[in-house]
Subunit: 480 residues, 2 copies
């Protein structure tokens, strides 16, 4: 149990603040293996919430969960050339089983397209076997050689990966968009993180995809974070892995595919977007504990009555489906508990002291605004329900405001560089569509095109880099 | 979609029957990686059911889920000598990240004691930090060199592993038993598989444990299958990993630990114990689909009314929390559907044909006994609920009878060998307690002591092997 709060301010040393919040709230810890992390009970419980929300969504639309092997034989990974090139620099290889060298080294999945699709080819014969719509929750290995950043850059992380197979390109298009919209709902209406929705440029798309759609959020330090991606794979993989089916006219066709995913990096986004100088702030809809009740006994007076009242309130809220905890530990003071639960981001605290008891009320303290209100005991369920909704909305609105303030429209490259340097955030600019311009911008400024909006925006200038005629309005940013 | 049924009988070629049932029911498939398997949607859905049941149990008793890294540095694994010796022959090693050889090779977790306990030492300081009660659902790697057996022997499988830390030996004893009892409840009251409960002998205990408790079931071929284990680790690991705490008297103590787990091999047990010549038979409490409704249109007469009625019944059952599917596919005949759902083990089928429609009834067909009953439409929910309970109970009772018939008490070693050869099953015999006798029996017959009953049974003979005075009644068997 950590009893020392966060010692740096979010606005002063963002990176150090981020690490301290995670470690001190006991959200996660560094593992004793280089580049890896431990998901402690708080972050894992948040991940379970996210899983539950998204799993319900995709099951409702006919997707099923499966589990494919962790191991991918090297020759599989090599089959789709772009895909292999994209992933091989960060693959961890198993070369020994017991004390016997393996005949072929095995990659630990950096993503599962190749291992799954080799088998899809076996399962799919006819139009009757389509669509295939599966998903897998699993661990993923990417041997990053840069420094570890908890949740955002670790050699192992957790994710979901959906993989679907369709008879037509259009069906696959629809799947890509359906999932992207489900993702947006998850990010905005549960995690309370507003996102920009769009396509990736050719340079930034998934290796092996026809096109990639994605959601991007802005972090308080002005860097963008990719929250989820949904790829149309076209027939790139089906041709390589021979995923063919007989259509209703008995004609052989290559199938159309999609894949899509998000990972535990979402938890990192939650920390960054909502956290404050006191620690985590969790949106009520994904908080494993929504309400904590802290009894405040006064010099042994009323201790028993206060505790009895606290239990009564606990039962009432619990019965109404609110995730509530009664912190009746005697080895800690109320003040210590306040700090600890604030650090852990519990959205709402209920205090019950002698004065509350006397007046038949409880005191509600919001984590997001620190505002306190007294409510009559009999109204506690309604008041809590309403406040949790308010907090959820407030967190989203605050984040939305920050996103909006962090979109800067520029027309000149010198302004582009200035904004990037002084403010960061998304830079809205016009682009001629050339990969060279995109590459030069990246090399000169570190910013990449994060999204090309799905609905084309009106061109308002020439290309930000070459000055030629522009084809697209796009959003640049530096990113995690 | 497989449209060819199982072609061998369970009683004639058990091993081939087992594989056919799994592949043809689409429960699972071989992976294109040696020694690995694919959990297809049916087996994964069963696993999700099992997870849900057990997760609820352990959360109710204060356990929390976490996630630790897949990678274990070699020197960690080596710290507890017995543990290392027990696991190292079947460890898969990562030696390369990208194209760079690693400084220290990394084991893929064969179990997580060592990687977790190194960190527990950091987290635990005081009696206030105890107990620690965590659990992890994850993939496990054991590089078995024998042939693959789906669910029972694969190089990667899924499991849960619980790890707890306590202030006293007694508390750890209680934890071990609490979990063992939860396991028994899961096996018997959900999976409908009766088990023997006991301790392992010194030879058979978990490498590094003080003692191991376990549950053992009997398979129809007379071999035992270990269903779950719950270990008291004593202070063996806490001394090696320096998990110490200050007790209430400010004295430093080594902690007491437990670990416990079960794996996806349970799904293999389900197939073996309940399956029949037509395929899988799933106990209703863990069946992802409990009821399938098959409309039986007759020559286009009444097709629409039958379908409407089927939908009505579907809604009624669905609303009452029954996992029901309406199979309204037009590209398959009712007969084909019957076979397919029987193969997949759905406990109850509802048929609705022209005669049923006319008489305001539906026909219920049990998967376990093939018995059919007609019930009035208005009674369908009650009838289904009752039948599902009956099926659950019947499967358990059938399995219990088989377990009982498969326990043979012997007093002479020649009878021991004869029973083992001709019948298999558990052999109840007296044992002097010597590891040498146990080892000799194993070498000569292949049978090991599966359990030493927790409550000592009355000695009825001398040691089955050496003829000296016996100390324990034990249960031998050959096993998976």
């Amino acid at each position: 149990m950590s009893d020392i709060g966060v010692t740096v301010k979010k606005s002063e040393n963002f990176s150090e603040w981020y690490t301290q919040v995670i470690l001190k709230s006991e959200l996660a810890d560094y593992a004793p293996v280089k580049g890896c992390m431990i998901f402690r009970e708080l972050s894992y419980a948040i991940w379970e919430k996210i899983q539950e929300i998204f799993d319900t969504k995709i099951k409702a639309t006919g997707h099923k969960n499966v589990y494919f092997p962790l191991f991918i034989p090297e020759h599989f990974l090599k089959k789709e050339a772009e895909h292999f090139e994209g992933f091989v620099p960060e693959v961890a290889w198993v070369t020994m089983g017991g004390d016997t060298p393996l005949e072929e080294k095995l990659a630990l999945r950096p993503t599962s397209e190749t291992i799954m699709y080799a088998t899809f080819a076996k399962w799919i014969r006819s139009w009757r076997d389509l669509p295939v719509k599966i998903n897998q929750w699993c661990n993923i290995i990417r041997w990053d050689t840069k420094g570890t950043k908890l949740f955002l850059r670790t050699r192992e992380f957790l994710w979901q990966e959906g993989h679907t197979v369709h008879a037509t390109k259009e069906e696959a298009d629809q799947e890509v968009m359906q999932i992207l919209n489900e993702y947006k709902d998850l990010m905005e209406n549960y995690l309370a993180i507003p996102v920009l929705k769009g396509k990736k440029s050719e340079r930034e798309k998934f290796p092996g995809a026809l096109y990639t759609t994605c959601l991007e959020a802005i972090m308080p330090d002005g860097k963008a974070l990719q929250m989820a991606t949904s790829h149309h794979l076209g027939q790139n993989f089906s041709k390589v892995f021979k995923i063919k089916f007989l259509d209703k006219e008995e004609k052989e066709q290559y199938a159309w595919q999609t894949s899509w995913g998000f990972s535990t990096r979402l938890i990192g986004a939650l920390v960054m977007v909502h956290g404050d100088d006191k620690g985590l702030v969790l949106p009520p809809k994904i908080a494993p504990i929504q309400v904590v009740i802290v009894p405040i006994p006064y010099k042994d007076v009323d201790t028993e009555q206060i505790l009895a009242k606290a239990k009564e309130i606990y039962e009432k809220l619990h019965k109404n489906g609110i995730q509530v905890v009664l912190d009746d530990r005697t080895e800690y003071t109320p003040g210590w508990k306040f700090n600890d639960w604030e650090l852990k981001g519990v959205p709402l605290r209920i205090e019950i002291g002698p004065r509350d008891l006397k007046q038949g009320q409880v005191t509600l303290a919001r984590r997001d605004t620190f505002e306190k209100t007294a409510v009559k005991e009999e109204n506690v369920t309604d008041a809590v329900t309403k406040l949790l909704k308010d907090i959820q909305r407030n967190l989203f609105e605050k984040a939305k405001k920050i996103l909006e303030e962090n979109i800067t429209t520029v027309t000149a490259y010198k302004d582009f560089k200035k904004v990037l340097k002084e403010k960061g955030g998304f830079i809205r600019a016009c682009w001629c569509g050339s990969s060279d311009c995109e590459k030069n911008v990246k090399e000169e400024t570190g910013a990449t095109i994060r999204i090309v909006p799905l609905e084309k925006e009106k061109i308002f200038a020439n290309c930000i880099y070459c000055g030629e005629e522009a084809k697209e309005v796009v959003y640049f940013a530096r990113s995690y």
